[in-house]
Symmetry: C2
Subunit: 238 residues, 2 copies
């Protein structure tokens, strides 16, 4: 098998800094975790919050702390730091090679999607952002790693896309349409969802948008781990 | 412009855990850094060392500490922890959007390559691994981010490939041959170098091997940041 993870990420229109932060960390007992946070508001302040949250979670995961405990710690830490005045959403997607499962930890009102083949389930269990109070708990789902599994997680920029002009995005329908096509790559899924959101926002995203897609394929290739990062730089080089 | 970074990474033959650790972190003032460490020996012990080093460097970079200072701190920290008995190589490749440069920080006897178009330079300035004494300094190079720039960094598994059977690898020649072809992607460069090393080791790598390629292209596309990770999982799911 092979787990493939793809991310597409853009900023709110006319804001140079994304309030979303996403990082990947190796798990000390095998596998990896992707941590995605969206700090309240946008621009520099939001970026500082989401970086704080992601750093906290990543450093705990690297020490072998379980995902749920890391999310609670990040919430308490943010609450203590900002006295409950600043919140952040948090999603952790972990491939745990010890248990052979994908562990999804979520403190985000935005739902996520699990697809097996072409069957798409929207998981929208109520879930609060972190930093809001002392009693925030994550919603945790654990799913066996098996070929055909696709998971889509995103920040609320995708949820709210098109609302300004009265044409909200229907992520589930878009995703279903894509999965009916021939084996879309996770990058193609992430790119298509992001492009649709930007189009609904008429080319000027009303918020930062990050889309994360995890896909498990059969594959009988080599044992090489691979990673690619693409960072566009505006004309002035800054 | 667009900066593209690609990594290909494999383990020593018959060792399930790679002693190399590689992680990417966003720089708080714009851009990103890739941190690659290769802990002495192989397997679980080496992994613990390289993770320690990478975590240390990443957490300092995330706080805005300069690359050279972060490398010195990681060296002192490893030296203090292991009393100079365990060393690690360290390479930090940073895209600094504030200065518009790529900053290469190196504590690794293995050289690295800078190519502009088809002109390839091998940078082999003497450089010691970290953790060896109290006075370890990194070798730092700073290069403007401009289209046509290609940088190749790797761990010593690539340097030593083929030595066992008396056919050592010539990275420079391989790289030059590739760059003469039509615009190879950074992933293609990393994959080809890694595949050649594995072939020289007769399919059984004598050491962990990681290859990191950074490439700057012209490109006039969208402003979307993208990332892909591919994690092969052996049959038993572990």
């Amino acid at each position: 098998m092979e787990v493939q993870i793809a991310v597409a990420k853009t900023n709110k229109y006319a804001v140079s800094e994304s309030g979303d932060t996403l990082e990947v960390v190796e798990r000390p007992n095998g596998g990896l975790s992707v941590v995605l946070a969206d700090g309240q508001t946008s621009g520099r302040g939001a970026k500082a919050v989401s970086m704080l949250v992601v750093r906290k979670v990543i450093s705990l995961l690297a020490e072998g702390v379980r995902d749920g405990a890391a999310a609670r710690a990040a919430s308490d830490s943010l609450y203590t730091d900002k006295q409950g005045k600043v919140t952040s959403t948090l999603n952790v997607v972990s491939v745990d090679l010890q248990t052979g499962t994908v562990v999804l930890t979520r403190n985000n009102p935005a739902p996520f999607f699990i697809a097996r083949g072409e069957q798409v389930d929207c998981i929208g269990t109520e879930s609060s952002p972190i930093g809001i109070s002392r009693s925030v708990r994550p919603v945790i789902s654990e799913i066996p790693v098996e070929p055909g599994l696709t998971i889509v997680v995103y920040t609320d920029g995708l949820v709210h896309a098109g609302e300004r002009v009265g044409r909200p995005m229907d992520v589930c329908t878009s995703l279903q349409a894509m999965l009916e096509e021939q084996e879309p790559s996770p990058q193609a899924i992430a790119d298509t969802l992001l492009a649709e959101a930007v189009r609904l926002d008429e080319g000027r995203p009303a918020d930062d948008i990050s889309v994360l897609v995890l896909k498990v394929t059969k594959r009988a290739g080599d044992d090489v781990r691979r990673m690619t990062v693409r960072l566009p730089i505006r004309g002035n080089g800054a």
